[in-house]
């Protein structure tokens, strides 16, 4: 009997192993394998939609006024916005523009040479029955005034510093008086975009206190900083973070779904359960005053630590809306916006590429003392940057490395998703791939071009045909490029580019490091021994949010906080100021900077290959700011 048992056990184990090895993929369904989005079926009320969070990026902060540590898409666009609506909603269909139908206020009205801004609120309600009023906006603005250092998007001289006064004209109207004239587009898209009205019920400094007792919401603008700071501190602690003592123990995350504070919402959803791992469930807010109202009975967000684990859950049927890891894309596309075909294992799903409102680039260090002290001076030469950019064949890389699912970056404004800001000059690619032009630029400026070797300066000086200021004879085009590891397509891209640059003697030494290390190294520095990094590529460029109007003052202006490479150009600074303060169109600045190459423009890989169950509708078009609107979703039969 024992022998029989043993034999059976062995046979079963062997059979399982063999069966697993020989397991064939499921047969794809017609709707799951093609690019077509299903349209048939009858709309059903109710149901639970389960949505996969991006790998290793779970929501962990519920209070909309947050420091940079919590300022993420996972927290804002995919968690808080479901419950707490911003004053202005950006993302209108597939375009990164203002969406009046989802905004809490009507489009702002500018007057007095664009120094006065009047905001009229739409009739929205909080779930506790209160109306969303001008006082709620003032509450936010007062907190921004008292705790600007704790507001993630704060930059000196910008909001709230550029607000001279803010007055409440009526429960539904406020007037912002600015310290100087502002471009209406810029002020609406990059300044007012940061405001999220807060309910007066949150204006407290202890649990159970009466609404407004904190004294922040009713105060005149900027007049009660200490009271607002106390309210901010209390609410932050309720959200899990003690601004004065981050190491203090608390268990606030476990109370997110039960804390009465966070249950007061003006959005279409209420949190019904939440845990620290990022599992979040929402149910419709029965008193939601906006439109559309949720059709689903429940919306669930699931955390995943890796995209492989998510893919397994997707195939296993645990997720209605997930994503296909790019490495699992089986059919390349010729149109980055349209899927060529689904992975055969994913029957019953349709594939939809999502491109967020972002650009991809990596900085050169204009102050670098690398390359024997010459790197910074070499990068300051526009012709060198042009030669370098001419050798970046973005369409080819997108086609071959990203399987077609990518869009090029030709300047500071994204060319995709479709938007009203990208100029024709930028779309046309000012620096199309050309080895001959790259070689000519270097040769004509006094460099001895050595293909597949190291090009050196043979004619130093500042003349038109010479290498340029502070570049000595013998200076080499030899640089170190550190890039973020962990992504196969990044490795392939950087190696391919290295080969391309070598064609005119750019001798690039590649090295890999973690994303955080690359980011940490790509820090603006002044010339000196510790400022030796030359090129740092973290692979993600910049996402324009909440600076939706892509004026780039935070990344390209002289001394800007995220100007990693210390790019400095007076014309750019002047044009940037113009785009912020006058009605000057974006085009002038955009075209200038696209050609100036303050950074090396890189292809922008698709943000997500969304996988949506055939029976789940109302999902498309996806928001380019990666917000999710499950109130639009519904199941069909």
């Amino acid at each position: 009997m024992r022998r029989l048992t043993s034999v059976v056990t062995i046979a079963v184990l062997a059979a399982l192993l063999l069966a697993a090895c020989s397991s064939s993929p499921s047969t794809p369904s017609a709707s799951g394998s093609g690019s077509g989005v299903p349209t048939s079926g009858t709309k059903q009320a109710g149901g639970t939609a389960t949505w996969a969070e991006a790998p290793n990026t779970q929501p962990n902060y519920i209070f909309p006024f947050m420091s940079l540590a919590y300022f993420s898409v996972a927290n804002i666009n995919q968690f808080q916005f479901l419950m707490y609506r911003p004053l202005y909603w950006f993302g209108n269909g597939a375009q990164p523009t203002i969406n009046p139908s989802l905004s809490l206020a009507q489009n702002p009205v500018y007057s007095n040479n664009n120094t006065t801004v009047v905001v009229n609120l739409n009739p929205y309600k909080w779930s506790n029955g209160e109306t969303v009023t001008a006082q709620d906006v003032m509450f936010w603005m007062n907190m921004m005034h008292s705790d600007k250092a704790n507001w993630a998007a704060y930059a000196p001289t910008f909001i709230p510093d550029n607000i001279k006064s803010l007055t409440i004209n009526s429960p539904t109207q406020l007037t912002f008086t600015l310290t100087a004239a502002a471009n209406p587009y810029w002020f609406t898209y990059n300044q007012l975009s940061q405001i999220t009205p807060l309910p007066v019920a949150w204006d407290i400094t202890s649990t159970g206190a009466s609404a407004g007792s904190g004294g922040c919401s009713a105060a005149a603008f900027g007049k009660e900083d200490s009271k607002c700071n106390a309210v901010y501190t209390f609410l932050s602690k309720e959200a899990g973070y003690d601004p004065a003592n981050p190491h203090a123990t608390n268990n606030s995350l476990a109370t997110y779904a039960t804390n009465p504070i966070w249950q007061i919402v003006d959005g279409p959803w209420k949190l019904s359960s939440f845990d620290a791992a990022g599992n979040a469930s929402f149910v419709p807010n029965p008193t939601y005053s906006g439109s559309p109202k949720p059709t689903l009975a429940k919306f669930v967000e699931l955390p995943f630590t890796t995209d492989d684990a998510q893919f397994n859950a997707l195939v296993g049927g645990h997720v209605n809306f997930g994503y296909l890891p790019l490495q699992d894309v089986t059919k390349p596309t010729t149109n980055p916006l349209v899927s060529a075909g689904n992975n055969p294992r994913l029957s019953g799903f349709y594939l939809a590429p999502l491109y967020t409102w972002s650009i991809n680039y990596f900085p050169e260090n204009f102050n670098s003392t690398g390359d024997s002290g010459n790197a910074g001076n070499i990068w300051k030469q526009l012709y060198v940057r042009q030669a370098f950019q001419y050798l970046v064949d973005q369409p080819l890389y997108i086609s071959k490395i990203d399987k077609g699912y990518g869009v090029p970056t030709y300047g500071p404004v994204p060319v995709e998703p479709t938007n009203p800001f990208a100029s024709t000059v930028e779309k046309s690619n000012p620096y199309p791939y050309s080895v001959a032009k790259a070689k000519s630029l270097l040769s004509s400026h006094g460099w001895n071009v050595v293909p597949n070797g190291t090009t050196t300066c043979t004619n130093p000086g500042t003349g038109a045909s010479q290498c340029g200021a502070n570049i000595p004879a013998g200076a080499k085009l030899a640089f170190n490029l550190e890039f973020a590891s962990g992504n196969a397509s990044q490795v392939q891209l950087n190696n391919t580019e290295k080969s391309s640059w070598a064609q005119v003697g750019f001798n690039i030494t590649l090295s890999e490091a973690s994303f955080n290390t690359v980011l940490g190294n790509a820090t603006a520095c002044t010339p000196g021994p510790s400022c030796s990094w030359e090129l740092e590529n973290w692979g993600a460029g910049w996402v324009y949010a909440p600076d939706y109007y892509p004026t780039g003052e935070e990344i390209f202006s002289t001394g800007a906080g995220s100007n990693s490479g210390s790019y400095s150009d007076s014309t750019n600074d002047s044009l940037t100021v113009q785009t912020n303060t006058t009605n000057t169109p974006l085009t002038q600045w955009e075209n200038y900077l696209a050609k100036q190459l303050p950074v090396i423009w890189q292809p922008n890989t698709v943000t997500e290959m969304s996988e949506i169950q055939n029976s789940l509708r109302g999902v498309l078009p996806q928001d380019p700011l990666w917000s999710i609107n499950p109130e639009n979703w519904y199941f069909v039969k």
């Binding site: 022998r3 043993s6 034999v7 062995i10 184990l13 062997a14 399982l16 192993l17 697993a20 090895c21 397991s23 499921s26 290793n56 962990n60 902060y61 940079l68 540590a69 919590y70 300022f71 250092a149 993630a152 899990g240 981050p246 190491h247 203090a248 123990t249 608390n250 268990n251 995350l253 476990a254 845990d275 620290a276 791992a277 599992n279 955390p303 995943f304 630590t305 890796t306 492989d308 684990a309 397994n312 859950a313 195939v315 296993g316 645990h318 294992r345 962990g486 490091a513 973690s514 955080n516 290390t517 980011l519 940490g520 190294n521 820090t523 603006a524 973290w538 935070e554 906080g561 995220s562």
Partner: protein, 317 residues
């Protein structure tokens, strides 16, 4: 024995502090540091400076370490994880029981299967069943865990739909245990590889034990095969397994990174992995602290179990 345990305990404190100091220093020389990791590419110099000040990262390293140890000793405070917006102790204590469940069940299952399997191979040594089991052991022993896990998912989840490809999710162990179908594949993944290893050790150890003089004596005195096997040989043969079990304790506490990752199981292994990839220094130190404790405890437990299993083993006073 008590003196032995006390001495080992004192040694353990030194080892823990030493390990923590090394990891602390290594973690703090990572370029970019915790501030850039927590704040991301948008962080300005001023924001980074504010962050560093608030979290004492602008203090000399040894002072930072002293503050860390002080917090640990006085209030068991392992710091704060920005990535999780929670205290490190809270995060770890939420994950630890889940890993204990997963790896504990897997190891226990492996033990229950591997010991009889090893004995069976000895009893039937050099017969077809022994060859087959030996071959299978080698296959599983050599098989990378990610491959075995992926194969199990492919077959049992995707094709047969018997078990879930995703491990149970939830805040508590109760939530995890309430979804047993989700536990089957990750537990089996861990168990299969452990069975392969344990059964090989058991087979070798038992074969060696059966050649001992006292076994021959037992046989000569007329003890039957079963008595020889289970009463005389097994107790000594199982000693290597005790060592293995002791050494498994760090894995039980530290979690099985790949298995947890493959099945999206919210355990300690995955937590440590995330701490590394997120440059979450306090969490990295916290998981290291627990893994160090487990390593020391595992080795101590093995030593004690030796004495229990074999009365001839005594420890110097």
């Amino acid at each position: 024995m008590i003196g032995f345990i006390f001495r080992r305990f004192l040694q353990a404190i030194v080892v823990v502090v030493g390990v923590m100091l090394i990891v602390f220093l290594l973690a703090h020389i990572i370029p970019g540091g915790a501030a850039r990791a927590a704040l991301g590419p948008r962080a300005t110099k001023a924001q980074i400076a504010q962050f560093n000040h608030l979290n004492h990262y602008d203090q000399p390293l040894l002072k930072q370490f002293w503050l860390y140890i002080d917090g640990l000793v006085t209030s068991f405070n392992l710091g704060y994880s920005y990535h999780w917006n929670q205290g490190v102790t809270t995060v770890i204590l939420a994950r630890l029981p889940k890993t204990l469940v997963l790896v504990g069940i897997g190891t226990l299952l492996a033990l229950i299967i591997a010991v009889p399997l090893g004995i069976l191979q000895v009893v039937r040594r050099n017969r077809p069943i022994d060859y087959v089991l030996t071959s299978l052991s080698f296959v599983f022993y050599a098989m990378p865990v990610f491959l075995l896990g992926a194969l199990l998912i492919l077959y049992f989840s995707f094709d047969l739909h018997w078990f879930s490809s995703e491990a149970p999710q939830g805040a508590t162990v109760g939530d995890i245990l309430s979804q047993p179908r989700g536990l089957v594949l990750p537990v089996f993944t861990i168990a299969a590889l452990t069975i392969a290893s344990f059964s090989r050790y058991m087979r070798s150890s038992m074969m060696e034990t059966l050649t001992e003089d006292y076994v021959r004596t037992a046989r000569a005195k007329g003890a039957g095969p079963r008595r020889v096997l289970y009463v005389h040989a097994l107790r000594n043969a199982v000693i290597p397994i005790i060592t293995l079990l002791g050494l498994s304790l760090p894995a039980i506490v530290g979690g099985a990174i790949i298995t947890e990752s493959l099945f999206n199981y919210p355990g300690m292994g995955l937590l440590a992995y995330q701490a590394i990839t997120n440059t979450d220094i306090p969490l990295l130190l916290g998981t290291t602290f627990f893994a160090t404790l487990a390593t020391i405890a595992g080795s101590l437990v093995a030593d004690i179990l030796y004495a229990v299993a074999d009365p001839r083993i005594r420890y110097a006073k």
